[in-house]
Amino acid sequence: MLEIQECHVYIGQTYVLKGVRLEVRHGEIVALIGANGAGKTTTLSTISGLIRSRRGKILFRPDPDATQQDITKTPAEGIVKMGISHCPEGRQVFSDLNVWENLLIGAYLRKDKQAVQSDLQWVCELFPILRNRRRQSAGSLSGGEQMMLAIGRALMSRPRLLLLDEPSLGLAPFMVEVIFEMLEQINAQGTTILLVEQNALMALELAQRAYVIETGGITLSGTGKDLAENVAVRKAYLGAT
């Protein structure tokens, strides 16, 4: 579905991604784990078109039988249209807009009004709290609610591939459980997920496959289970001694 080939990315003068290779297949949950500053967020921003890759290629195939497209140079607006939705780090809901408007703006490019309405219902079934809070400004929500809103907003564009940046960041453990359960459900309903996480334990448990990124390069990859048992990974990310 998504193939990153040797991407080299600079932010200003800083060389951040040094030839990242990564693949996401249809229907998967793929986790990308790594320490602070390893390049996880940059990888997602490069896919979603916020940052341009200086060298390398990103290829995307929305459906198994669709033709593969080169999206390396597509701007962010175009990426959303193609079916990739990026739920950014730290939630970043629009705090001046109310909950309903936040969800509607997720569907900004869609012209199928009726389907948008039914997707609103779908998101509200996933996260019922959003319906109760729909007239409230998003800034007044708790962290967990904002996370739900951010995911709901990302789903409103009806993505084939959902990019999630640290959904567990700053949330209470039970809330993290809730969110991860939802991700499983969203995936089961047909959305492929690329998940970036510092909470490696939970991410590896959820993901079918995972990559470890270190200082701008992928150093390990395998099934979630394999990586969770890998000695180096356990030492570096799972707190094993």
Partner: protein
């Protein structure tokens, strides 16, 4: 005395309407790309000359002139954005600020070159000069027109920003440029729209300026530009309701300061404006309706 105060309040309302219209554009542009646009006042000047040109050239009715001047202002605003500010996007804030000063000087000098620095009399049709008396208060038809037009435009803008898809996109872009892009919003369009609306309003304010003062020259944009800046800061820069509130407060404040104190103080009216600004900022550093302290460059 009561009649005198009532008259002053009406004068404040008229002045405030013009300040508010200019301040809205100023605050919209700042809100969306954090640009302090000192060329904004010069759009007022362009609007004033455009009006004069249209009035002289023929029998175009005033509502049509309002529309044409709005379009001309909007066109100038988007042109400036496209040519001068978009290439500076992502540069430090100071770069944009200096660019706007350069544009301002350029527009003023172009004005002098093409129109000479000689002040010109601003024509108003007779029916706009009719004086109405409401009890102790007297006002010209044009004053009434200024207030009504300003209020109509502001209500219209409020509805647009609050209830339309475009307005939602503008609010989202103003809050977070990058996340707005992730929603599929073309921020170049949104930014251009903010420039278009803001500059259109400034153009209409120029038309009012000419009608109110009766004389226009190519440097007239400086004062409304500066006052709009102050009004926007008082209201909380980036906030549209704040700009409206700031504009009216400034209008009332100025008129009452001149009207109620002995005449020898009247030349201090601009000093008064800035003292007020300083006092408000001491108590409320974000202005009256400005929310957050975060600074997005």
């Amino acid at each position: 005395m009561d009649g005198y105060i009532a008259q002053q309040l009406v004068n404040g309302l008229i002045l405030g309407s013009m300040y508010a219209l200019v301040a809205i554009g100023f605050t919209m542009i700042y809100g969306i790309i954090r640009l302090i646009n000192f060329a904004h006042g010069d759009i007022v000047m362009i609007g004033a000359f455009m009006t004069l040109g249209l009035v002289i050239s023929g029998k175009i009715s005033f509502p049509v002139i309002i529309l044409l001047v709005f379009i001309a202002g909007a066109f100038m605003g988007t042109l400036i954005e496209r040519v001068a500010f978009r290439p500076m996007r992502g540069a430090p804030q100071v770069t944009g600020f200096i660019t706007s000063l350069a544009i301002s000087i350029l527009l003023q000098n172009l004005g002098i070159l093409l129109l000479t620095a000689q002040p010109r009399n601003f024509f108003c049709p007779d029916y706009l000069q009719t004086i109405y008396r409401l009890g102790p208060v007297s006002l010209r038809a044009i004053d009434l027109g200024i207030v009504v037009t300003a209020v109509v435009l502001m209500v219209f803008l409020g509805l647009l920003v609050r209830f339309t898809r475009l307005g939602m996109a503008m609010r989202a872009t103003a809050e977070n440029l990058n996340v707005a892009r992730l929603m599929g919003i073309n921020i170049n369009h949104t930014i251009m729209l903010a420039f278009a609306i803001g500059s259109g309003l400034a153009g209409v304010a120029g038309m009012m300026w000419g009608g109110k003062y009766g004389q226009i020259d190519p440097l007239l944009g400086f004062v409304p530009g500066l006052k709009a800046f102050v009004a926007a800061v008082i209201g909380g820069v980036g906030s549209i309701p704040g700009a409206m509130l700031g504009g009216y407060l400034l209008g009332f404040g100025e008129v009452l300061f001149v009207g109620l104190l002995p005449p020898i103080y009247s030349s201090y009216r601009d000093a008064f404006v800035f003292i007020t600004l300083i006092l408000i900022l001491l108590v409320l550093p974000n202005g009256l309706l400005g929310g957050k302290t975060e600074e997005k460059a």
